[in-house]
């Protein structure tokens, strides 16, 4: 038995030879890469190695991108039949599949997420989103918005750093299928896969200007939101920035969809399959380092099983492999940036000072890069900041409840409403709880599952609109009675 207990994994590093990273990148405007003026470094958060230099788009770049998108919309994309538009999207999906390894490696280098996740989740799902939406392009009259739904025109899209390529796919695929052209801005710390996607657009011979990618920080994002030449804004990010965007576009004709923050409750009832629930708790909060808006960051345990679940959870957490994201055995990679690590560290300290009991899995963290051990706080109450605010890291707050109604009341006691989890082997209870929870996505006896056919989005302050399925597509079409 001793030998089995002390079993060690040998390193199984993925090769980075498959990617070529240029020392410097520009923007992708009108089908061409154009040089930027100012640049900022993008680093590998697992090593702090500078990977490349990314252009910081200013007003002139954003103007050029919007102009290119408008021209492509007017002269090409809006005139093309849905059937032909769809074929471009199918091409893109196929090329992404062909170059999947390249995308996965690049995503892991730039973002810090484990290669296992970028390879098995981010990239295949991104390709699937293009494949799914490709098929909508010639069927828009069946999208539920009347017989002649119309595209908005030029869509400005701003995406976060947690799933860089996947969020690009969630935004670009439905926009193009519906007949819009786009100006997309990736997050400042994770631009590389978006720039590789630009190459895919070239290989697919997508007409120039249909997809334009400008890189930069929040100031570039604000220029897109404020640009008078843009008809629709789609944003994924924090609720704070979402509200700023909502106010900014309020007096304009722009249509908006927002995919914002969350503080999902993951509820484990006494009749749950405990071992499965423990796997679900781990997946819920530690998937993608907890950099997930729909993460199950508030664990609600029924009091009579709390001790057993916590014991098993700690034992399971002790087996989470934290470290080199390029290692195929790694479960938990690097925190995406120094800023994010600081935010996680600060909120965790607040958790300590407010009386939560911290427990972190024993693990050795690499000396370079940004790391945070998988952590839980027990003894957390509703009023604690770590139970109310999005930490966006591998930190779980644990609360308990006595009755199912108490679980629902606690779960719903938040301005957010993005997702929730339910663990119970009793069908009627699962359906009851899924009805009572005020959230857009309910995972029952599972967690963090995504699919292009399945609408995703939040209630309340978690956002406006859905992404995925017919509901997500409709956000990129006009035809409903309201403005």
């Amino acid at each position: 038995m001793e030998e089995i207990v002390s079993f060690e994994y040998a390193p199984a590093p993925e090769s980075r030879a498959v990617v070529t990273i240029k020392p410097k990148y520009g923007h992708f405007i009108g089908g061409k890469f154009v040089a930027g003026t100012k640049h900022f470094p993008t680093i590998n958060p697992a090593t702090e190695e500078i990977l490349s230099h990314i252009a910081l788009a200013g007003k002139a770049d954003v103007d050029a991108a919007v102009k290119a998108a408008r021209k492509a919309y007017t002269t090409t994309w809006s005139k093309m039949s849905g059937k032909e538009r769809g074929k471009y999207l199918f091409r893109i999906a196929r090329i992404m599949q062909e170059r999947a390894r390249e995308f996965a490696v690049l995503e892991t280098l730039d973002n810090g997420k484990p290669i296992r996740e970028s390879r098995d989740v981010d990239v295949p799902l991104a390709a699937a989103h293009f494949f799914y939406h490709a098929g909508w392009a010639d069927k828009l009259e069946f999208a539920g918005l009347g017989t002649t739904p119309k595209a908005h025109g030029v869509a400005g899209q701003i995406i976060p750093w947690n799933f860089p390529l996947l969020m690009l796919a969630w935004k670009v695929a439905p926009a193009l299928a519906a007949g819009n052209t786009v100006v997309l801005k990736p997050a400042e710390t994770t631009s590389l896969t978006a720039l590789l996607f630009a190459e895919v657009c070239q290989q697919a011979e997508l007409p120039a200007g249909v997809v334009n990618i400008v890189t930069g920080d929040g100031t570039t994002g604000a220029m897109i939101v404020n640009h008078p030449g843009i008809d629709k804004i789609a944003f994924t990010g924090s609720t704070e920035v979402g509200k700023i965007i909502a106010r900014t576009v309020a007096p304009t004709h722009k249509s908006v969809t927002l995919e914002l923050g969350g503080k999902a409750a993951n509820i484990v009832f006494e009749d749950a399959a405990i071992d499965e629930a423990v796997e679900g708790i781990v997946n819920g909060i530690f998937f993608n380092q907890g950099h997930v808006c729909c993460a199950g960051s508030r664990l609600l345990l029924q009091e009579n099983i709390a001790e057993e679940v916590l014991e098993k959870l700690k034992s399971r957490m002790s087996k989470i492999r934290v470290g080199d994201p390029m290692d195929k055995n790694t479960d938990l990679g690097a925190i995406n940036s120094k800023e994010q690590l600081l935010k996680i560290t600060e909120l965790s300290s607040v958790g300590d000072s407010e009386g939560g009991q911290r427990w972190s899995a024993p693990c050795e963290l690499p000396s370079k890069g940004f790391w945070f051990a998988p952590t839980i706080f027990t003894g957390v109450t509703q009023s604690h900041r770590i139970a109310r605010e999005e930490i966006f890291g591998p930190v779980l707050s644990v609360l308990t409840f006595r009755t199912p109604q108490e679980a629902i009341d606690k779960a719903n006691n938040t301005p957010f409403g993005l997702s929730a989890g339910i663990w119970s082997e009793k069908g009627s209870k699962v359906l009851w709880a899924s009805q009572q929870l005020r959230a857009g996505v309910i995972w029952a006896n599972t967690f963090n599952k995504f699919d292009p056919t399945s609408p995703f989005g939040g209630y309340k302050e978690s956002g406006w609109g859905r992404e995925g399925g017919r509901h997500g597509l409709s956000a990129y079409l006009k035809g409903v009675s309201h403005e």
């Binding site: 699937a128 539920g144 918005l145 609720t239 979402g242 509200k243 909502a246 106010r247 309020a250 007096p251 304009t252 927002l258 914002l260 301005p415 699962v430 899924s434 959230a439 857009g440 996505v441 309910i442 995972w443 029952a444 006896n445 599972t446 599952k449 699919d451 056919t453 399945s454 609408p455 995703f456 989005g457 209630y459 309340k460 302050e461 956002g463 406006w464 859905r466 399925g469 017919r470 509901h471 409903v480 009675s481 309201h482 403005e483």
Partner: protein
């Protein structure tokens, strides 16, 4: 010529199934098209709005829980009650707006018919916007429309009855409760409609009707943190921008509508997606 003196009605608010005066004691004067005094309806205050929202919030879980069949029957019941009081509504529309009898009759007829139309939507809207999603994995995955919560509305000035019904009905079809500000210049139909609601098995608090000034109440609605959505169809489009800015504080869903269609019902519904594994 009769010497009988008319018994005139005191027009009050409709909050939580009761007819209170404004807590502020304020009223305003309504005159007809020729400038003749008609009534002193309540000039609702911020506190009246708050009371109405509290009532709407308290009533929402119960209304949401009512079966679609039940909700449909109650909406149909409103139509039945309105049909029975056609003459009163025709008279009130004529007295306030000076409309011809034919025009007033058409508005009341359309109002009754519109209620019947919406009544039929309660148990059909989910087949329009629900879905069973064919995800690439062993999961049962469905999306259903659900109520959003408490929705506020500003009814259009004109038509004062049909516009009111076109605002209220789509909001409550899917399980929301509503706080609505009636037409300022022609509030009589709205307050009489409250009497119809009060006798239609609509649970108290599901529909709350205020009278007053749009420009005063709309910003209070927009910044109210316990209102989930806001129908601003009856509001001058010049003020839509500032209302949307104030509403962003809790990311209220704010819409202005042009017509009566199922999109109007769906605008104030959320869509919930549920995943469950399939397996032995």
């Amino acid at each position: 010529m009769s010497n009988r003196i008319d018994v005139k009605k005191t027009y009050k608010l409709f909050i939580n199934g009761a007819f209170p005066r404004s807590e502020s004691g304020r009223t305003y004067e309504v005159k007809n098209a020729k400038g003749v005094f008609i009534a002193n309806p309540c000039l609702a205050s911020r506190k009246d709005l708050k009371d109405a929202v509290v009532a709407a919030r308290a009533a929402q879980p119960g209304w949401n829980k009512a079966t679609a069949y039940n909700k449909g029957q109650i909406l149909y019941r409103i139509a039945e009650m309105l049909e029975g009081r056609r003459a009163q509504f025709v008279d009130e529309i004529i007295s306030v707006t000076g409309a011809t009898k034919a025009k007033a009759e058409k508005e009341v007829t359309d109002s009754v018919d519109r209620l019947v139309w919406y009544a039929g939507w309660t148990d059909k809207i989910s087949s329009l916007s629900g879905a069973l999603n064919p995800v690439a994995g062993p999961y049962y995955n469905f999306t259903i429309p659900e109520s959003m919560g408490v929705i506020a509305a500003i009814a259009p000035e004109n038509p004062s009855l049909l516009g009111l019904i076109d605002s209220i009905a789509p909001i409550i079809v899917g399980g929301n409760t509503v706080v609505i500000l009636a037409s300022t210049k022609a509030p009589l139909s709205a307050m009489s409609f409250a009497e119809v609601i009060a006798t239609s098995d609509v649970p108290a608090g599901v529909i709350n009707i205020l009278t007053g000034k749009k420009e005063e109440i709309a910003p209070w609605i927009a910044s109210h943190m316990d209102i989930d959505g806001f129908d601003i169809s009856g509001l001058n489009s010049k003020s839509h921008g500032e209302i949307r800015i104030a509403g962003a504080e809790n990311l209220k869903r704010i819409y202005a509508f042009k017509s009566a269609d199922p999109g109007r019902i769906l605008a104030f519904l959320e869509h919930k997606t549920v995943w469950h594994p399939i397996g032995l």
